[in-house]
């Protein structure tokens, strides 16, 4: 293993984080130099028994010094905050057109599902120069995906999705590891982040032993789990039509309006009585324990693939 697998700046964002780090290091160096310098000078001049004259510091003068360095400190800190916050804010907007890869963490391994249907364990293949969004969840305790080369880290919680998004611009093999203490083998819950060119990524996905892409696998599940029995237009059971549901606002029976994001869809499958769509009866059974995390990923991929209008009887 080489240090480069950790320290390479594999994105523009990583370069900006490092610049902030250098700025703070410089400021810290100056402050340490200043304080140490003052202490050394004061010790040299005013050691006990030294011949230097000592008088009172005039009250007004000491007040001015006090206010002076309070204000100076405050402005320095505000400047650093502004710099750090602007880096954070530019990194906030999630790209819309991102390649979405699912990460499922469990004690003590990483399972990755690509939109093409390719799966891998403890290894994450990514195309460079592409917006990538990782949608992550855990099957047990809290984990944390740490990608040192991208200077990114995000906790992964059970029964919830958290996200990381980035645009890597260097190809190579980097380190990937768990940063949130998760039990016995926490320290070996590691793997490789493989960043390749988009063409190589396409070749890699094509070469994987896989059936259908995620959405099609989801469609099969949608039938085999019995979802399609109710959620098809013309079904005898009165259930919401799911075409185009993803990212749409949904009116609930208790008057709230929510956006049907991944968290909402996931909850609707596992905890169907939590958010009842206005105009529908709470008749759906829970699929908690029936649908695994991996299957949920497939179902969500399928739901996202459904376009706005039902096209005939079969979705």
């Amino acid at each position: 293993m080489t240090l480069g697998q950790f320290t390479t700046q594999a994105s523009d964002y990583a370069v900006r984080v490092d610049h902030l780090f250098y700025l703070l290091s410089a400021i810290s160096g100056l402050v340490i130099l200043l304080v140490t310098g003052l202490i050394v000078v004061f010790f040299a001049l005013y050691y006990r028994g030294s011949p230097m004259p000592r008088g009172e510091v005039p009250e007004r003068e000491s007040h001015e010094i006090e206010i002076g360095w309070t204000v100076a400190t405050l402005f320095t800190f505000l400047f650093i905050f502004w710099w750090a916050a602007s880096d954070q804010l530019t990194a906030l907007t999630q790209p819309k057109d991102a390649l979405e890869i699912h990460v499922i963490a469990k004690q003590w391994m990483w399972r990755i599902q690509h939109p093409s249907g390719a799966r891998e364990i403890d290894e994450l293949h990514l195309p460079a120069d592409t917006n990538v969004r990782l949608a992550m969840t855990s099957q047990d305790v809290i984990h944390d995906l740490y990608l040192p080369a991208l200077r990114l880290k995000q906790d992964i919680l059970p029964n919830r999705y958290t996200y990381l998004w980035f645009n890597a611009n260097k190809t190579g093999v980097f380190h990937l590891t768990c940063a949130e203490f998760c039990g016995t083998d926490h320290s070996v819950m590691a793997g490789r982040l493989v960043i390749v060119t988009p063409a190589d990524y396409a070749r890699w996905t094509a070469a994987q032993p896989q059936g259908d892409d995620l959405a099609h696998q989801g469609e099969v599940l949608f039938r085999s789990l019995g979802c399609s029995g109710c959620h098809t237009p013309g079904s005898t059971v009165h259930a919401p039509d799911l075409h185009g549901v993803y990212d749409r606002s949904v009116h609930l029976s208790d008057g709230r309006t929510v956006i049907a994001d991944e968290a909402y869809l996931r909850d609707s499958i596992l905890l169907p009585n939590k958010d009842i769509v206005a105009g529908f009866a709470p008749v759906m059974p829970s699929f908690a324990g029936t649908a695994s995390e991996g299957q949920l990923v497939e179902l969500l991929a399928y739901l996202k693939s459904l376009t706005t209008q039902p096209q005939g009887a079969s979705p």
Binding site: L20, F21, Y47, E66, T73, F77, A84, Y146, T162, F181
Partner: protein, 559 residues
């Protein structure tokens, strides 16, 4: 109040018994309500716990010399760092300065005969020692593998270790903190000697006041979060379990709402101690006394509003991250001001190099490094990159261990003659102080480096590229261990064979020095009356310039 010529020999009726002569039986100690004896009970017990926590981390540092481990299984490793964390945070750092020096010195400093509730004080020691001893038994017999942070759902559903028992022990010790806090607040409000106005309180007394408020307000939240973990683990109440609609982040919010202020519980008393030491050994009034008081208060208040900076990657909203980042920068301002003020206190002083001063300078250095790296972690992008890495480990060890332990040692040496009536060996103490400062830096500077390079914390096995830094750090830990053991030897020696100390060996002006050393049971032979500001060292300075003819005023007179 009469002027007293230097050195300040208090009008001592010699031959009167000190608090140490008030009975020599075991019961005279275990049943005492004298704040001074309770302080010593605390000092002995926290020393024992400190060395247990120290042995645990020594084994961890030894194990980390090799990237593939030497002696331990991963489960044993996880239990060891949990032992270290729980013991050092709750049984050493939190009670360290308040329960020992706060108990011993605070009443003397404000001219009180004891704390406001002496029996509550003894009860708080019993709660502490029973809770802590029970927890240590649990940690050593079966062990706990969650780390000191007890994050669910790991702690509530997945850990196969004695989480409930350990949480119960910590829960009990929390009540000792609360009792001490209530006691100190009442003491400072009710028992100040005549003339001891709020703005004549020495900074150590102010730090005890602020820390008591923080203890009383924050500790119950720790109790709540531990109780909820227990309820979930034992009774399966769905509180943090997301499958049942609970929220694991709720625990983190509760936990850090206590544990961030707890960092100030550790560092505020340290600030108080070094303020006393700097003034005394620079023979100079603390620069900007009023600013120092207000920065203590500001830190105490804003310290309650920054807990979210522990959760930048936990799944908190980006807006919350931004606000907590801003507040974390703001809380750093008063800390920076204090560093400048301590430095400026040396200006035009008569600076001595005695061991307490060297320890206090060590505090200043480590506090500055720890504080500056706090700015790194308050910046969201850097925190995202370095949180849960050795950078964070190094940051908080430098500030709350390096800072607090240095100040603790400064205080122990400064008040040693007051407590024991003996002098310690100055050479060995200076040597130990310098060794400790070097040891801290050799241990933790490599950790800053490897953390920034990408070494995650709580790792038993690690990528071999970090081995060199781990070896350096473990080497530093050996130096630190020597620096911790030395005082045991020379202070122990001083206890039995040390030279008898005069009542005021440092010629300090603090009220606690204006009585016999060691003090009598009732602290003062006659009730003191205060008619001077604290830290009135300047006349002493002029006196030296004029050839030792001048006069200065200690803070307390006896009327």
């Amino acid at each position: 109040m009469t002027d007293v010529t230097l050195p300040f020999v208090p009008p001592l009726e010699s031959g009167r018994a000190s608090y140490l002569d008030e009975g020599h039986t075991l019961m005279s100690w275990l049943g005492t309500t004298d704040h001074k004896r309770i302080a010593i009970l605390y000092a002995l017990s926290i020393t024992v716990f400190f060395f247990i926590g120290g042995i645990a981390i020594a084994l961890v540092r030894l194990e980390l010399v090799s990237p593939t481990g030497l002696l331990l299984t991963s489960d044993e490793y996880n239990r060891l760092f949990t032992i270290h964390g729980i013991i050092m945070v709750w049984f050493f750092l939190v009670p360290s300065i308040p329960a020992t020096m706060g108990n011993f010195i605070l009443p003397l400093m404000i001219g009180a005969p004891d704390v406001a509730f002496p029996r509550l004080n003894l009860l708080s020691w019993y709660l502490y020692v029973i809770g802590a001893a029970f927890t240590v038994y649990v940690l050593l017999s079966g062990g706990v593998d969650t780390g000191w942070t007890f994050y669910p759902p790991f702690s509530s559903e997945y850990s196969h270790s004695n989480v409930v028992a350990a949480a119960a022990g910590v829960f009990v010790v929390g009540f000792s903190s609360i009792a001490t806090g209530v006691n100190f607040m009442a003491t400072i409000h009710m028992l100040r000697a005549p003339g001891m106005t709020w703005f004549r309180l020495p900074l150590f007394a102010w730090s005890m006041y602020v820390v008591s408020m923080v203890m009383v307000l924050a500790t119950p939240v720790l109790a709540i979060s531990l109780l909820l973990i227990t309820a979930e683990r034992w009774l399966h109440l769905p509180i943090f379990d997301p499958a049942a609609g609970g929220d694991p982040l709720l625990f983190q919010h509760l936990f850090w709402f206590y544990s961030h202020p707890a960092v100030y519980i550790m560092i505020l008393p340290a600030m108080g101690v070094v303020s006393e030491v700097f003034a005394c050994f620079a023979r100079r009034r603390v620069f900007g006394y009023a600013f120092m008081v207000f920065s203590l208060l500001t830190i105490g208040v804003i310290g309650f509003m920054v807990w979210g900076h522990h959760m930048f990657v936990a799944g908190q909203s980006p807006l919350a991250n931004l606000i907590f980042s801003f507040l974390s920068f703001i809380v750093a301002v008063p800390s920076a001001i204090k560093v400048f003020n301590w430095t400026a206190t040396l200006y035009r002083g008569h600076i001595g190099f005695e061991a307490p001063m060297i320890y206090a300078l060590g505090f200043l250095g480590l506090f500055t490094i720890g504080g500056l790296t706090g700015l790194f972690l308050a910046s969201v992008p850097i925190d995202v990159a370095t949180t849960d890495s050795y950078f964070v480990v190094a940051h908080f060890h430098t500030i709350m261990v390096g800072g607090t332990v240095s100040a603790f040692m400064a205080g122990i040496h400064y008040w040693w003659p007051k407590v024991t009536g003996r002098l310690y060996n100055e050479f060995w103490a200076q040597f130990a102080a310098i060794t400790m400062f070097l040891g801290f830096n050799v241990t933790f500077l490599p950790q800053f480096v490897m953390g920034w390079l990408g070494m995650p914390r709580r790792y038993h096995y690690y990528p071999d590229v970090f081995q060199i830094w781990h070896i350096l750090s473990s080497g530093g830990a050996v130096i630190l261990a020597v620096a911790y053991l030395m005082p045991l030897v020379y202070l122990g020696w001083s206890l039995f064979y040390g030279e008898q100390a005069p009542d005021n060996p440092w010629q300090a002006t603090g009220l606690e020095w204006q009585t016999a050393s060691p003090p009598p049971k009732q602290n003062f032979f006659r009730p003191p009356r205060i008619c001077a500001e604290p830290y009135d060292y300047h006349d002493f300075g002029r006196a030296e310039e004029a050839g030792g003819e001048g006069r200065a005023q200690p803070q307390g007179g006896q009327t």
